[in-house]
Symmetry: C2
Subunit: 202 residues, 2 copies
């Protein structure tokens, strides 16, 4: 390990620490509030120090987005893929997990799915690519149901997006400060799940 003595001119592990601090920060506050000064102060360095490890602030944000997608996928994919549960159960649990992940990580959710940094996201994630593991798992779930003749044999891509868009809409209203929605989000989710299921099954 490259352990360095404290208060030395060189920090020792600045890149990793910057990412770590940034990721902790966005759990609590919006990406807008994450300035280079915040990072500099938290690491006892200067604003410009970051440029020895990232070519721009956007490059750091790109890493946060990557890690954000990983965490999101890690929360959702295992539920969707859990073959020990039946399809309905997996759908219900995954959709519930989706909303709660958004509620628990509102700033990260907005960062990875929102417009502001879409130009960064697009560079390494599109729905039709293999990077979008959560979406792929959802589509696979639908196709599994189609093979078992439980789910209508329509275009699974379209079916998956209908589900995703619905959950994304509810999540967004909740975390974007429509508090009247948040107050009854479980009722809304139940109704939404029921609707979506009716649309899927025969």
């Amino acid at each position: 390990m490259k352990t360095m003595k404290k208060n030395s001119y060189h920090h020792g592990n600045l890149k990793a620490e910057l990412l770590s601090i940034a990721f902790d920060f966005i759990y609590r506050e919006d990406i807008d509030k994450l300035t280079l000064k915040v990072l500099a102060d938290a690491t006892n360095t200067s604003r410009s120090a970051i440029y020895k490890h990232f070519s721009s602030k956007d490059e750091l944000i790109k890493e946060i987005i990557k890690k954000g997608f990983d965490e999101f996928d890690n929360a959702i994919v295992p539920i969707l893929n859990d073959k020990s549960q039946d399809l309905k159960e997996r759908f219900f649990k995954a959709s519930y997990c989706y909303i709660n992940w958004a509620k628990e990580n509102p700033n990260l959710y907005r960062l990875i799915f929102g417009k502001k940094y879409a130009y960064i996201r697009e560079a390494f994630v599109t729905i039709r690519s293999e990077n979008c593991k959560g979406f792929i798992a959802l589509k696979a779930l639908i196709e599994e149901g189609q093979k078992k003749k439980i789910i209508k044999s329509e275009d699974s891509f379209t079916q998956a997006i209908v589900i995703w868009a619905s959950l994304h809409g509810l999540s967004s209203l909740i975390i974007d400060c429509f508090n009247d929605v948040n107050e009854i989000y479980e009722d809304i989710l139940n109704q939404m799940q029921s609707n979506l299921l009716k649309g899927l099954i025969y």
Copy 2:
């Protein structure tokens, strides 16, 4: 009318012109790009001139949000309220109109429904208040269907939010640069409408 001679020290109608320019601007570009310099250049004034008419940039944005809600309501409400059409037809047309309004006014849509300026929106619009005319009209449509025994007599507020959240999710994915979604948005909307309808009717 207060018509003033050109190139005079006083502009004559700066407040109205600032709002007009800002509103035109957001039709084309994101609110992030609307700087005081843009407004100053467009009106041949200075950055600080705006402060004689608005106490801050946020106050100007507040006016844009207000006008944005008005335009949105003007597009949706007449369709939902059109008693010459049957309920299903109004639902289909209104939801189609919703998505297309978002597609046509992506920056304005994001401004009025997004998180960034939620603290401004909240000050004069909440779903449960009377300001949210579009949502009220949707809820009224549902209640009309309940009286006619077409729509399930569940809580209309919840039913309305399920619909709204679904449309909001699809709109957001489309305008927030998920291009794979945009390409087949009509298929998705059709499926979504069908699902939502099944959830509503007996």
